[in-house]
Subunit: 343 residues, 2 copies
Amino acid sequence: MARIAVVAGDGIGPEVVAQARKVIDAVLPGVEATEYDLGAARYHRTGEVLPDSVLTELAGHDAILLGAVGDPTVPPGVLERGLLLKLRFAFDQYVNLRPSRLWPGVSGPLASVKPGEVDLVVVREGTEGLYAGAGGSLHRDTPAEVATEESLNTRHGVERVIRDAFARARRRERRKVTLVHKTNVLTHAGSLWARAFAAVAAEHPDVSTEYQHVDAAAMFLVTQPQRYDVVVTDNLFGDILTDIAAAVTGGIGLAASGCINPTGAYPSMFEPVHGSAPDIAGKGVADPVAAVLSAALLLDQLGHADAAARVTAAVGAELAGRTPGVPLRTAEVGDRLAGFAVA
Amino acid sequence: MARIAVVAGDGIGPEVVAQARKVIDAVLPGVEATEYDLGAARYHRTGEVLPDSVLTELAGHDAILLGAVGDPTVPPGVLERGLLLKLRFAFDQYVNLRPSRLWPGVSGPLASVKPGEVDLVVVREGTEGLYAGAGGSLHRDTPAEVATEESLNTRHGVERVIRDAFARARRRERRKVTLVHKTNVLTHAGSLWARAFAAVAAEHPDVSTEYQHVDAAAMFLVTQPQRYDVVVTDNLFGDILTDIAAAVTGGIGLAASGCINPTGAYPSMFEPVHGSAPDIAGKGVADPVAAVLSAALLLDQLGHADAAARVTAAVGAELAGRTPGVPLRTAEVGDRLAGFAVA
Ligand SMILES: CC(C)[C@H](C(=O)O)[C@@H](O)C(=O)O
Ligand SMILES: CC(C)[C@H](C(=O)O)[C@@H](O)C(=O)O
């Protein structure tokens, strides 16, 4: 039976993760879960972000379920670089998977887009690009200061994430992959991405392809999000585009995410895109849907496609049944979702 | 009297630039305009993109009005790096100014945003960052290929564009500047931007400030574009955010842009954000509004704030008077705009 590590984290993290576990237990009884105390609270208490011993223990699990980490008093970058990015890099989670659907029952911000019409997934590279941490500065705090950030891209890293995108496209109805980059300005990295994309595309004649510059893609995600099926892009572009995709499909409150190592050499990690939301923490009113959808991605990654599909369908039923304006209770939503998932 | 260089360019470029000149002539008779033949057509005919002699001649003008350059048969990057970016860098156009308004009469894609509610301007850095062209690759076309792109940021370059943003905020009603970066990941460049921003902000206690990560800003531009007044950001983030801002205010068909050297040491350049649109070129149906709004930015930069305001008001009158679905004729719109501007 699967062994998962649970990092509930801060703020609403524990509240929404509890519902995700409830739903997992309903569709796949017997999953073994071990809790790890990481995040802002631990950092404040002990000064530790991610001790090596914990990293080693996490590595022994099949997957990680994360709620949310952070609070406004932790200096920016500490938990991001020390925990979230550290895990992505240490566990070589090169596929950052971010699906976006405009669910029936959810009113998005776009006047012309109807529920059900948007169903896309961004396959964001997770271990390279500007996230490599390759930067520096000179003459800091003087008028002569210069600061650099370097985007590092390898054929190895680019090709494997593009392959993953094509494999996912093959399992979807429209079988279309859009490469997003900025080849007209970032000519070196852009050329590498474009050539790797062309090579992998040639092996997938049944998948249709297109290329867009990142600025155009950002625009079309707002004006015609329906046009996308699978989008593959670099780490930073993916960071931006997935937030736009979330915004046009009802907000990051509904957005799920998986940081995946498809080889299985290390555990993959699943988390809602939303943060710890300290303003509503402890009130039992946080929407657990994004955490539950993240749990569905986890189940799918562990080979339980059926259980994942039932959880996803449960979310569909829950959202379709909501009455706008009626406040929700986190635990009740979890109970309903668990019920729908086994019905 | 002002001497401007006109690069009408390709596709619909000449059609929309003709209207912009019509409107300039109406509000500021006597402007001397010299045409320069640059763009895809010249490149195909002669192989030249921007001869040094032309660059020198352009430098002798007070400003440049550009229509659109490019067509699908020019290899990507040739005109971008060889002409547009070349001019931005050669003329040290460090302020890339991109206003976005949701004009009364224009229906944007957002259900909850009413015309008149969005009025923001992005001050995009124009001469640094990932646009510096500092990248390279090794082992090209082998499995060992690595490609880099470097973002170069100087205190000099960052501070001057932030100063410009604060100066512009002081001339606006809300007096608010939002810094957008990704300080939690791009820690070196992010820290430089954040410290320069804090220093300039301290000199402007009458201007309110906020900071957002680029992914959050991309999201809020979709969900709450009303919240922004002046946004200052780096070159690549600005490229992406301005296309989102254009998308939520009716599309890049209405978006104007100025590449400005505020010192006056070199000419500034003004151009609609839209491209050469080969599919509708020559039919006389292109909307010249973005070109005319770019002309208004040009007039303002040359010290003719009054004439600029009249042109902007003319655009307001034109857009408010349009009937959705009624096709437009480029020249007629130009005539009407010229008329409104001098009424
Ligand atoms: C918290 C931050 C480091 C992270 C990122 O930039 O990847 C977040 O924005 C995300 O999208 O998961
Ligand atoms: C054409 C391209 C080089 C340019 C840019 O990236 O700056 C364009 O997208 C823009 O926004 O003006």
